[in-house]
């Protein structure tokens, strides 16, 4: 061991393989950690499932909204509700705690590529999102006989993958700006109103007119409209406008996160 004291690090090809392995290991253990943290995994999976069961399936009277059955329409809303919760609590909550305890600092001082940390958190949120969406789809199919084609399901999965990003950025902003103790509360204060106003719980056209206008600012609205579009529901805006809505929100959040991170670094 002592003989290697002043030698240079390993060759480049080895270092690429090692970097890849670090990314995979970080992602795997971030997911394992979240799964073992029952307070997180039960709540984040349980709430959308229970909400969908009550409001989408039990309260369902077999009506249709714009050619889509209520059970299927609500599936889109609660699927988005689920993936948003997974990314806000998984990324925002995790980062806030690891920032406050100094764990992130220890990670930054290690040779781990900083990007591996972020990617691991996003990947875990995506996997939780996929689990939630799959559970809700299965519930819809078995209880309300919702018909979902494999292609609709695949597009929902793809939207989960992409849709996690804007909320991951929002989670980062909250973690960087809000003291750790307040983070879960603040996340709920943003998550729940944003879900309601974005039309995830109650179809958007049943909300007051003012809220329908306000929804245009919410990423939850745009993401749920994109999921509905995969079900053949003609939404208020075009798909392009919803993509731009999500992109705009993501860029604003990234900007705020960058500012907040710089402020934090200057004071550390």
């Amino acid at each position: 061991m002592s003989a290697t004291a002043f030698t240079l690090p390993a060759a480049r090809s080895n270092s690429f393989a090692r970097t890849l392995r670090i990314f995979l290991t970080e992602a795997r253990f971030e997911f394992v950690r979240l799964l073992r943290t029952r307070a997180f995994s039960l709540a984040v999976i349980g709430f959308p499932v229970i909400f969908y069961l009550f409001f989408g399936l039990i309260m369902n009277r077999g009506e249709h909204i714009g050619g889509v059955s209520v059970a299927k329409y609500m599936l889109a809303g609660y699927a988005v509700f689920g993936m948003v919760g997974a990314s806000l609590f998984g990324i925002g909550g995790g980062l806030a705690s690891e920032l406050s305890t100094g764990w992130l600092e220890l990670k930054r001082a290690s040779p781990m590529p900083p990007f591996a940390y972020v990617v691991a958190k996003c990947c875990s949120a995506v996997v939780f999102g996929l689990i939630i969406v799959t559970l809700l789809t299965l519930l819809g199919i078995t209880i309300a006989h919702v018909s979902i084609t494999p292609s609709e399901y695949a597009r929902m999965m793809a939207l989960t993958l992409v849709g996690t990003i804007p909320f991951a950025c929002l989670g980062m902003v909250i973690a960087l700006l809000v003291p750790f103790n307040a983070a879960p509360g603040v996340i709920n204060m943003i998550y729940l109103p944003m879900s309601f106003c974005g039309g995830l719980w109650i179809p958007i056209m049943m909300l007051p007119h003012v809220l329908q206008k306000f929804a245009l600012l919410l990423p939850t609205y745009h993401l749920s409209q994109l999921v509905l579009a995969t079900f053949g529901y003609a939404s208020a805006g075009s798909a392009i406008s919803h993509w731009f809505g999500l992109l705009g929100f993501t860029l604003v959040m990234l900007g705020v996160a960058a500012l907040a991170y710089r402020r934090l670094e200057q004071n550390s």
Binding site: R33, G102, W103
Partner: protein
Amino acid sequence: MSAVLDPIQATPFTTSSPAVATLSHITKRYANGVLALDDLSLTLHRGEIVALLGPNGAGKSTAVKLLMGLSAPTSGAVRIFDADPRHAATRLRTGVMLQVGKAPEMLRVREHINIFRGYYPNPVPYADLVRAAGLEGIESRMFGQLSGGQKQRALFALALAGDPDLVFLDEPTVGLDIEARRGMWAEIRSLAARGKTVLLTTHYLEEADALAHRIVVINKGRVICEGTPAEVKSLGAATTGTSTSRTLKIIRCVTEVSNSTLLSIPGVTAAELTAGVTVISSTEPERTLRELLALDQNLHSLEVQSPALEDAFLALTSN
């Protein structure tokens, strides 16, 4: 410098060993205006154990953060292995133990260790790490289930995971029982013996005394004193007197001789009567004792001590 080394502190390094890490003329002012470091310079050599001592808020953690590349200096230069501390190649050769409130609690000790081993091209074999950090038998426990001392040992294992050439240990033995502390000291000594460099901050002066080849005392962002534990003790005691001799001893006795007479005895730098016992600081203890015993035939309860590091530390950092 080597001439004054206490035999117990005999070391494998000399100051001519290559510099492993340097802080040169570092000033660090935070965005809120607080001046944390004020023209601080510090050099760490290969194979040495340096203890950074100072009261809370002295700038210890800021210095460590700068060395780890977690924070940038307002002015001055930080070099680790003659490179930028933020470079990936530099980080591969350093290991860090910070005061972490908690590591992710729902991962097992074994998992934490292997995640960190995975960051390095040539990690220490898993079994060796577990043995060095004394983690046998608790490897399958979740981090959150560990006691305070076990957590410290697990974090120690993470710092050593990559077989680093330079190790930063921030308060490494907090919460450890005596046996575990001795065990960690032995590990730290064996690191230095293998040519590794260790920088530790500690509140236990006894730890700095037992472990460090060199102690650097900082206060208000400046180095106020630097040397072997023996040197720092003498310097600290001498700040109240006039001499900076390195042979300073504290003499305690019960005597009739007056203070003014005592101060006229060669070598005496201070004399004080407390609770019937006279405490004398002397830079020439043998000569002082000879005179003192001749002056007072009834002198009794004689004790001669080396000044404690704690006294030195308090003397140096007061004001």
